[in-house]
Amino acid sequence: MNLSDDRAWEAIRGDFPILDQQVNGHPIIYFDNAATSQKPRSVIDTLTRYYECDNSNVHRGLHELSNRATEAYEGARTRLAAYLGATDGEIVFTRGTTEAINLVARAWGDQNIGRGDVILLTEMEHHSNLVPWQLLARRRGATLRFVPVTPDGLLDLSNLDALLDGAKIFSFVHISNSLGTINPAAELCARARRAGVVTLVDAAQSAGHLPVDVRALGCDFLALSGHKMCGPTGIGALYGRREILEGMEPFHGGGEMIASVQFQESQFKPAPHRFEAGTPAIAQSIGLGAAADYLDAMGRDRIFEHDRDLARQAVAVLEDIPGVRILGPRDERAGLVSFVMESAHAHDVVSMADQYGLALRGGHHCTQPLLRKLGVPASCRASFYFYNTPAEVERMGEILRKIHAFFA
């Protein structure tokens, strides 16, 4: 499928029923993809089919439906493992990126982090890759250290080796949700590995937008959210390198994760099931597998190029509007653009854009410390996906000009 071909475009947008609607009297322009993506028909149908035909609990059932549900659930794990270049045993289903990071901070962190130990993060982390480590540091008496961010929104790596020195884990975002910065994840992992530091890559914004292969990245952990990559909400995954995952204590306790239970103690299943207590999000996992199928059929390298082209176009369109300041790197950004308008606060801009059917996001994007450092109380963000079009970006420019004229 050639993404520049008009008929192919129609076909792609036709896969997303939600895009065929008007909002406030205008055709919807959905530019809030970094918050959550829309879902293709194939994912929606997978959920429906599961509930209509196969719904049952997994693993313990001795009947036909349970066998089907178990097969589909474990099949989704295999699918996601293939999607990330991992093996089945290295994929733990979680509720999303946030739970995946909390799992590591608890199950790995409590075991490996002690008083005075250093946890290395960056200044551009989403709260989900900051707060779990703050909680761990508070529990264990550890210290947080941060790779600084330059004024143009890149990681300042000039002191990375010194920052890595003595650190136990380096957890960093692959693509910044508020700046669009693409961090050199493979290089960061390699340098951390040389320093003997465990790595976690927050792939929430990258897993659905570009090819992500855990062996090529060389990370120990990787966390992702299904709903940002065409999958359902309530499902995500943690990749953990086999050796490290197998050595970890459980996260939550309960059914499904045990081998045997006595009154005083229990034995646990091996990874990954050891980390999946209780009935899992079965339908959502299967839906996530369908999303992986959809994205691979589309081609993640082409998705990346398309998103990036829209971001380049958006930068050009925005630079043409008086009083607009664009945050983040000038070149080489992922498919999202954050900006502030001199004439109007982000919330005024976003509320007004909604009146034209344009869905943007305004606020701190769950990166309060980063925006504070950049001296911006709140920004507007347009984030793109493969079903967005150059015509929509043009239209955003027209709408923002009207908003500027209104408030200026």
Binding site: H345, G362, A378, F407
Partner: protein, 153 residues
Amino acid sequence: MNLEELYQEIILDHSKRPRNFGPLPDATVTVKGDNPSCGDEVELAVKLSPDRIEALKFTGQGCAICMASASLMTVKMKGRSRTEAADMAHAFREMLVAQEPPEPPANFGDLQVFSAVRRFPQRVKCATLAWRALEQALSAPEAGPVSTEESRD
């Protein structure tokens, strides 16, 4: 009503040229308010006598609705008795959040333009921030900052 109608003259005017904006050196009470979800910040300084608001000014930054609401509030509250001000602050919040809002008091005047904010639920916090700070200044100034998100350590 659409949003452009909400941002009518009075809101745009007060947000671009906020009245009573700046420090109040002889304030007896100051209360900080913030709306962490969008970064709005208002610091309200009030000079209270035993029974009335002698003067009030504010500083801070935020969206047009937040700034206009704070500005118009200072205009409307100056010189009011403490009970009257507390009643009006309560009525203002009721106007935006009550299931069935009562008729606004006769002394509301221009404040009534904010009644339309109830149709944009995400913006209610913006409109009420300064009023929460005022309520706190009147009732429990020693209680510290107010926030639209309750936070506990």
